[in-house]
Structure formats: structure tokens, C-alpha cells
Symmetry: D2
Subunit: 340 residues, 4 copies
């Protein structure tokens, strides 16, 4: 194994992408490249204190800035991109969360349209203690506060969509995008089907932590220093995003209504388990039905995202490597990188 | 504390309830009574081998037999019933799972109606090793097998519904019922709002284990020896089922589409957190959004069930007991019972 | 044809049914009987003026009173009940409509649960000019008014449910019930599958008129003088409610989400068209796809209801009578009745 | 009124647009221009006989070719484009319909994902008798046939989307697009909010006729000779597509689940009625609830589309022109054009 290439990239103002697809690449990389990236928060850094209301300080549609896209040399439609998160670390000592008018799960929205007034618009600034690995919640209407574990993750990682489309960076779908799952953390490999030459990978939307479902629509949003390593699995079709950690394989379905997101993720996991173990699809349906964990990712975005996850050590009877052993390979690169 | 009353009850054939509401009580108990119960599996014990297809051996609507109902003296509309699971143990050395025609998440159904043929009907018999705490999956179409941890739970626990209704034991709703959450295990207290005098509690649908979402519609179904203790919280309205473990508070929403089940559970948990801590609802909305776990329970039943759960030790600033300290009280009774 | 029996029935206070199933029959009738009925409005007659707010004057769950149930001698599970509406006439010179807290399509509800405040509760009294066949809308916040055509219908017609259940009269489902379709008007025959001996038919929820979807959740509610004739089709299974007018056949699906209600109605109509004409199901799928009308009934009740309707004179190649000619038979009885 | 400009445009092969947004304009027109257009069918003309299966002859994503886009000089974000259909006439003597794998309402799909096999793929060629205004259905599995009225319409009419997006021509959304409503016929004006300079209007997807809901996913697809006149309403925001005929105003909501499409359309119509008449929103909510017609458009596309329509002569108390009188103005231009 030769030393991987390392590219550091911190976007200038004006250099962010706001869409998946449709943006010119900021760089071309070869498979195996390590990217040291900086990502801005979903507010484009404009919500910095309690009086910075989204509806006043943000400029639509310039939300959820993406770092990228990166053109991955050799990646072509029909391949799968592998993105391994080596580290995800908050780049500031605070994160911001808010309510936003007609956005979130416990409010009517532009789609779940009602005649009611929107909820009040409020900002919460969370203090991040990176040494202690804590985020501090401070209530706005009382003196109550609480420390929750830091659990840094990326809400958004994706490639250019299929079907000639360009999608807002706020959208999760088959190309990945704004899935908002807390499982997208350091140590995890994300597999994304390639739809256009070069794949056009970008990431963003760092969260210091997020509950499952992202109920109010907004996590503890923060800029991130993130290191990833990117590789390509040639001639491997991945219809919906897959994740692999040291312990689990996971499928991510994004759709509305939420039961369709669930169906997509479960069907993909059933098929993954069947292909990997050699079980029939019906046997895999039974096995997954008893073994799966099904945490929600988001129930607030343009599409809702549901995760289906399975412990790798529960999978029966196989020594075959998962996804051609890519996760272990990238883990090894990560270890070497951290050792340097 | 005086010694609690203990009632053992094993229903005879013909003594099961098939509905919530509408069935005559099998016994009247006082608050604080310990019930040593036997529950039959959801197939009424008729699926015992690979050739016992549900469509042939089961007699509709006589599915999901309930042990009960128990009339709880003093329980009245406006109160809350507390049901603590002291132990849940498989009563047989095997469990059964199946596909059933037009039932499950990865098939069309009578409601998600299509012109396609149903999936094949297959039975899987899982061997339960109660000493080793394992369930053994044996594939039908290959020699593959796998051992999964035993994780016994009750799919169904409920009281008589409101609004003069009688519901099939297959239904989950505000009265509890067939919620099919793996969280309903030993050590957990379930809180259910009382809709009719005596509450009319029944339980059933034991699962040796179940994945989140119960994808194929059927868990590892088995008869159970279950011990519960039942108590009443007077003048406390509980609109949707709540659960409490030593570590978490949880709300269970049941509805279609699945996002409504999510909304119900999350809103109830937000309100629970607000009431308990004294936070405003908007502060609790923010706090829960970052702290909640959101595992699915079922995406196959008449209503889908979504769980919202929060670590108790993360709740800020309160020494107030949750639900008047009922969970700790029943835990203590459980300890005494097990000590006898 | 001998003269049909005629039974007049006007319920006393205390004689209404509030559920489908679970209520004792008010009378036993033979097939072919004409019923001259009076039905109270869905508010049990308690909303009589602008200050009669539902949340204050109505007593839950005593909403949507039903006239019946009638035990139809000879009707047994596996049969189909035919209910032909001879006439539906407002019994008062006014109708009432309202907003109700957390009920309706353009508000959050107990299921589509949000943190927002409910909409204001308002009552509109509509003047009914039965001679001119008009209902007069009078705005509450301005002097605007408008005359809309009287279009009397029954929101609710149903039989006892299957599966041992008892359902609130507010529920639409496979047993009929609170479908709230404007198609349920004089001249129409409604076919309902029989689930219990005697069928246990009841009707209620008269509307002077209603928009498709019943957007605010409440129509122009009024007491009705309604004449129906009831008959039985032996050994004919009708899984979901069907309607037949002189011009159309219609299927009614009730479920959530709304696309499932659509699927149910469309699949039933495809199968009805296939069985009736002898077309294959795929040919019927194609034919119905180009010929169907799909007005919504309600998007506010416990289940949403979608109608699929097809012009009878467009059906190809058959002289076979629809539903054994029952509609024409009952039309003839209606003509004779009106001639008397 | 000076004579309007008339532009005839028949796209060459290679000149079609396959997206809304992202395609270069084929021409720039001034407001008031009449466009004489030819549109290809949704199959790009490749399904011409019973053996032309979509999965074999069509080339994804090159489906639903659009004629356009046209850059409308002076149209800017914040304006509304008015597109009046002067005539819509089938350009061939036949239309094609099909089943397509995992597409349609009565099959599982890539989103409503199941383990079942897809339905068989079948093509139906409908003969169009343009003189007699009939389409002839010929069953594939029997000799049955039927004549249905010709009812030519455009499934797709739209402008470039907001939020920097490019969407497939198969998508209906706030920018219009593939709404698939039979109301989009000759004599109707469609209003679309402008999102980018020049609006970038295109149309396509002609249907000789279509049932409401487009159940099998495909109408009687045919090339069209269509004449439209295009104008601009300056400084008028139209959040969702609106239609106006001589008799009705209509709003079109597109979303999933279907109840959200319903909510969007109904809320828009309530607001339109309120603004136009001066009624309060709550009064308009009541009025629309009793007066609205709610036919479905499609329950098969990426988003489902629901129509809310209201008779213009039922609207109370106003002499104010609707949408500044644009529909009457364009009707007059159409009359002059036809008179020439």
C-alpha cells in the first residue's frame, strides 16, 4: 500500500455548493485520496446568537452549504463511491439550533399545510466542550440546562443525482444528500451509487449531535473539521445509500410517506443480507425481521429518512467480505493517517 | 408495605379475549396485585411446524388471544393504569414466525392494495435455548442458521378503548394494544390511560425476539410465562401509552401514515419532558429534538407504532419523581417478589 | 311483485346508536322493506346557533347519532346488503357547520400532532330553502353571503363491522360508516358486505350539502327525513362498500394515508369491471385508468375515503345485469312508493 | 389590441427538453405571444405497437420530452406566468398506453418497495377517431372493446423550479410539471409562479384522455398539436399552480402522502377565495368546505397531485376580476386567433 494522497480544502466564501449536481467540481481526486475538509454549518454561519432568526439572517435558497463537489477520477455510472469518515470534529466552540417557520415535525409546513399560525421562531446556542465531549443545552424560558454527549456527524453527504436532475442540498434521496442520520459519524463508511462521471461528491451540515428524527427540523448545527477517505467500487450498483460501521451494515431509505422510507431501507437490507450470505430473499426477509434495528433519521426534510441496521456478527455462515472488504481497507488507511 | 396479593391465571381454551373492550373480565384485582400469567402465542398455538400455514390452520378473527381482561378495582376514566413487567419468559422451547398473505411491510396488503400476487406463505420454527438465552434461526431454502439473543417481550398490552369501541386484539392505538415494541420487556412499566371503569387490562402476543418495525409482520411468536404487577395512578390523564425503564422514559404513538405515529410519540414526549422538568414546551421541543431516540415498533399493523425515548439521567434540573415515583415503587415490589 | 312492507321509525331521545356493532337492533325487518326514517344531525341536535360551540355543547363520545340498527332477517355473513335511497330531505329549515378543535384537514389534529394552537371555534348556521333547493351561506366576519344548491346526502350508512369489533359512528371503513361522500344521495343504491347475522344497518349524519373532501371536517349538518328500501343479495361477498346510481358504479375505499384509500377504491372498481364484463384484470386496469372519475369523499375522518366511479354506459360488451339487477329492482320499488 | 405575435415551433429530434430548469431556451417570446406547438408523447414516440415494451424501447432518463423551454421576456421571479390553452388536438390517429414495471398505483414501486414480482408489461394501442371525438379501447386478453370520449389534455406544463433545482420532466411540484390533471385542456388558463428570469416554460405529455388519478400510471399518450397564448402578471406571487376555466377556479397541490397534496390545494383555494371575495380566511374555509370539488389528478408520479376546484358563479359578492381578468383577456385573444 502506497501512501495515500492527502488534499486539504477549506472553501472560501462564494466557493460552496448549494445543490447536488449542477455545481462545478472544486477539485479532481483519485480513488484513495484523503480529504481534510472544513464544512460550514447549515445556516451558512449566519446564526451566531439568540437574535439571529433564520427568517431574517438567512438568504434562501442559500442554505446548507456543501464542501465540494469533488470529481473522483474513474468513478462512472454503475460504480459505487465509498466515503469513509476518519474524523468529524466541531470547528467552533458552539453550535446553533432553531425553530424555523413552517419547518419541523411538530408544526404544519408548506406541504402539511394548515391555516394555523407558525410556531414562534427561537434560537438556542449550544456551548460545545470539545475536551469533555459535551454539548450544553441552555433553556431560553428558564434557567434549566443540561449536558448531552457530543456526537459529531454529518447530516449531508451525497453525489450528483440521476435523471439529469439538480437537487437542493436540503434534499435526501437515492443519491444520499440531506439524510440527517446520527449514524453518519467517524468510523463509518458510506456507499453511494454513482450517477454521473466523477460522482461529484460533497459533504456538509455538521451536527455536534442530533436526536433520531431531528424533530424540530434542526440539529446542533456547527462547522466541522472533517477528514474522509474516498474510494470507488467499480461495476457495483448501489441503488440506495448504504453505511457500514465496525459493527453494523445499514441501509438508508428516503421518501414520503415515512412508511415508504422504511420499506426502501428494509428491502435494501433484506437484499444486502441475501446477497451477502447466500440466503434466499424470503429467508433474509425472516432473518432481518427479527434482527433489524430501525432508528429514524429525519422526519422533517423534503423526504423522510429511515435507517435499517443489522449487526454484522449476527449474519450467518459467511466469510465473504462485505462490499469487497472496502470498509476494512479504509479503516486501515484511517489508522495509518491518524498514526502519522 | 404489606405483602402484595398474587393471582396466578392460566386461561383455559375458550377463556381468551380476542378484543380490547367487549370481553367480560376473568377476574377482579386490587391495585398492587401481582399477576402470574400464561399467554398463548398470536396464532392461538396453531402454528407448530413448517406445514402449518396461517391461512390454513388459523381461524379468523380468532388471532392474537389475550390473557384477561382483568378488572382493576378503583380504576376509573381519568386515571392511569401502571403495568410493570416483572418477568417475561418463553413457555415453550420454540417460537414460530411466518409470512402471511397480504400482511407485512414488504408486500402489498388489503389496504396498500395492488394487483400483484401475494408472497409465498412460509413458516419458520425458531428453537429457543432458554438457558443460553438464544433463539436459533434456521433458513428454509438453505442450510444457513444463526443464533440471535433471546429478548422476550409482549407485542400486546392494553385496556378497553374509549368512545364505546371494541377493537380487535390486532390493533394498536391510544389504548395500547398491539404496539409490538421490543421495549415492552421485563423491567419496564407501561402506563395506559383508563377509559372505562376497571380499565379491563389484558396482555398477549409474546415474542421471543423481534426486530424494530416487525418487518415481515410476525415476530418469533411464543407462549409466555409472564409476571406483572398492576397499580393505579388516580386522576392522571395519559392520552397515549407511556413506558418507563430504569434508564428511559418513552412515549408510543400509533397511527397511519407512519409520520403521524412519530408526531404523536414525539409530541407526547415533549410534553412529558416539559411537565416533568418545568421547561417551556418550546424549550422541551429543542431539548427532545437533540436527545431523543426514535426506534420503530411496527410498520405492519392496523396502525403503525413509533417510539420516542429519552434517557432519564439527561433530563435537566429536577428531583421530582416521574409519574409520582410509580416505576421505582413497582421495581421494589418486583424485587421483593423475586426474593420470595 | 307484492306491495313492500313499510316501517316508519323516528328515534326517541335515548334510542340512537353511537356505534356500528354493539347496539341492540331497534327493529327486525324483512328484505324488501321500505324504511321511513328520521335522522338527527351529527351534533345530536345541540348546535343550534352561533354560540353553540361543539367543545361546549356536545358530550363526547355522543356524536353522530345513528338511526338503527335494523336487523335484516336472513342477512348473513357472506351476503351483501343493498340500501337504496328513495329520498333524502332536510327535516329542518337550517343546517349547522363548525370548526372543531384539532379536527379538519387544514389544522393539526390529535394524530397529525403539532405544538401549534388550534384554530378558533366558529359556528355557521346555513338557512335551507327547501322549496328553492338552496342553502344560504352567511359569512361570520363580513356581510358576504352566497346561495349554494341543496344536495342532500347521508355522511353515514353502515353495518356491524367484522372481526368482533364495535366502531364509533365517526369511523368509515370496510363496513361503510362515516364515509362522507356526496354521492350517497337519493337515487343511489349502496351495497355493504354483511359481517354479522342480520347485518345491523344504521344511517345518520345528514348533510344538506358537502364539498368533496369535507375540508373543514363538518358539512352543512342537518336532521333528515329519509326513505330507504333494504334488500339482500345472498352469497355475494362485497369486501368494500359499492354504490350504484342510474349512471355510475362506484367503489369506496377508506384508509390512511389517502393513497391507500385511493388504491382500495380503484382496485375494487377494476375487479368489479373485470368480473362484470369478463375482461382480464389487466385489461380492466387499463380501461379503468382511462375512464375513472376519482372524487374525494373525506380527508378528515379516522380513515380518509376515496371514491372511484365509472359510467355504466361506457362498460364494454355486456348485457349481464350489475349486482344481479338489484339497483333497477329497487328503483322500481321506489317509483311505486312515490306513486302511492 | 394589436395582433399578437404567433410563433410556430416543432422540435427536431434532439431538440426536446427532459427537465424543468437546466435546459437552454429554444426561443424567446414576448408576453402575449401565441405559440403553435407540436409535442411528442411521453415515450418519445417509441411505443408504437403492442410489442414495444417501455423497458425495452425507451431509454431512461429520456422520457416525457418537453417542447420548450421558452424564455418569456420580462417574466421575473415574483411574477406569474399565464398559459392559456387555445387548442389541444391529437397529432396522430392513435395513442399508446402501457403498464410499466414498478410504476402505477396498483403495484409496488421503487418507493412503495416490496418483495413481490412486478405486474406483466403490456401495451394497449388506442385508435383515435378525431372526427367522431372518440378513443377506442381494445382489450388485449379478449375481444371486448369500448369507445370513450376524446378529451385531449396536457399532463405536463411547467416552468423552471425554484431553489436552484433542475427536475425531471416526470415530476409535478410547485413549478407545475407533470401534474397529469384532465383539467389541463383547451379553454383553460394555467397560472404558474415564476422562479427564474424568463420563466422557462415548456409543455408536453399529451393525453387523448385520462382517468382521474391516472391509476396505471399511463394515460392514452399521444403527440399533440397544441396552441397556447402566454402572458405575464407582474408582481403577483403564485405559490402553487392555479387553473381557471370559464366556469371554475382551481388549485393544484403536488406532494406525498396524498393528503398533503389535498391540503396544499385546498389551502391555496381557501386563500384565493378569501383574497378574491374579501372574506376572512375562516369564512372562506367554511365556504370552500361546502362548495369545493376535489378530483384527483395523479396518484402515481414522484409527487401525487390533487385538484381543488370552485365554481366561479358561486363566489359571493364581488365584481373584482379574478387574476386581474387575465383569463377573459386570453379567451378573447383565442377567439380572435381562431377567427383568423
Amino acid at each position: 500500500m502506497t501512501d495515500p494522497q492527502v488534499l486539504s480544502f477549506r472553501p472560501e466564501a462564494g466557493q460552496f455548493a448549494w445543490t447536488f449536481g449542477g455545481a462545478a467540481p472544486v477539485a479532481t481526486i483519485t480513488p484513495g485520496t484523503i480529504l481534510e475538509l472544513w464544512t460550514e454549518d447549515c445556516f451558512a454561519g449566519r446564526v451566531r446568537g439568540p437574535s439571529d432568526l433564520v427568517s431574517q439572517v438567512c438568504e434562501f435558497p442559500y442554505l446548507n452549504p456543501q464542501t465540494g463537489p469533488f470529481y473522483v477520477a474513474g468513478a462512472a455510472p454503475g460504480d459505487t463511491l465509498a466515503v469513509h469518515f476518519i474524523s468529524v470534529e466541531p470547528a467552533r466552540s458552539w453550535g446553533a439550533s432553531t425553530t424555523a417557520p413552517l419547518f419541523g415535525a411538530l408544526t404544519s409546513t408548506h406541504l402539511t399545510a394548515t391555516l394555523q399560525d407558525p410556531l414562534p421562531e427561537v434560537v438556542w446556542i449550544w456551548e460545545l466542550d470539545r475536551a469533555a465531549r459535551l454539548c450544553r443545552f441552555q433553556a431560553r424560558d428558564s434557567d434549566l440546562s443540561a449536558d448531552l454527549p457530543l456526537n459529531p456527524m454529518h447530516g449531508t453527504v451525497g453525489v450528483a443525482p440521476a435523471n439529469l436532475e439538480v437537487r437542493s442540498a436540503l434534499v435526501p434521496d437515492a443519491f444520499g444528500g440531506n439524510m440527517d442520520t446520527p449514524e453518519m459519524r467517524a468510523g463509518v463508511t458510506c456507499y453511494l451509487g454513482v450517477n454521473v462521471p466523477g460522482a461529484l461528491l460533497s459533504i456538509g451540515d455538521g451536527h455536534a449531535r442530533q436526536g433520531e428524527g431531528e424533530t424540530c427540523g434542526v440539529a446542533v448545527e456547527c462547522a466541522m473539521d472533517t477528514v474522509i477517505v474516498v474510494d470507488v467500487l467499480k461495476d457495483l450498483v448501489t441503488p440506495w445509500p448504504r453505511l457500514e460501521s465496525d459493527t453494523h451494515i445499514m441501509s438508508a431509505g428516503s421518501a414520503r410517506p415515512l412508511e415508504d422510507a422504511f420499506r426502501i431501507a428494509q428491502l435494501d437490507l433484506v437484499r444486502w443480507a441475501a446477497e451477502h450470505t447466500g440466503m434466499s430473499e424470503l429467508d433474509a426477509y425472516q432473518f432481518v425481521s427479527q434482527a433489524v434495528e430501525a432508528p429514524l433519521a429525519n422526519v422533517v426534510d423534503t423526504n423522510y429518512t429511515s435507517i435499517a441496521m443489522l449487526r454484522k456478527d449476527w449474519l450467518p455462515g459467511t466469510a465473504r467480505p462485505l462490499m469487497r472488504g472496502m470498509h476494512e481497507h479504509l479503516r486501515e488507511i484511517a489508522r495509518q493517517y491518524r498514526g502519522t
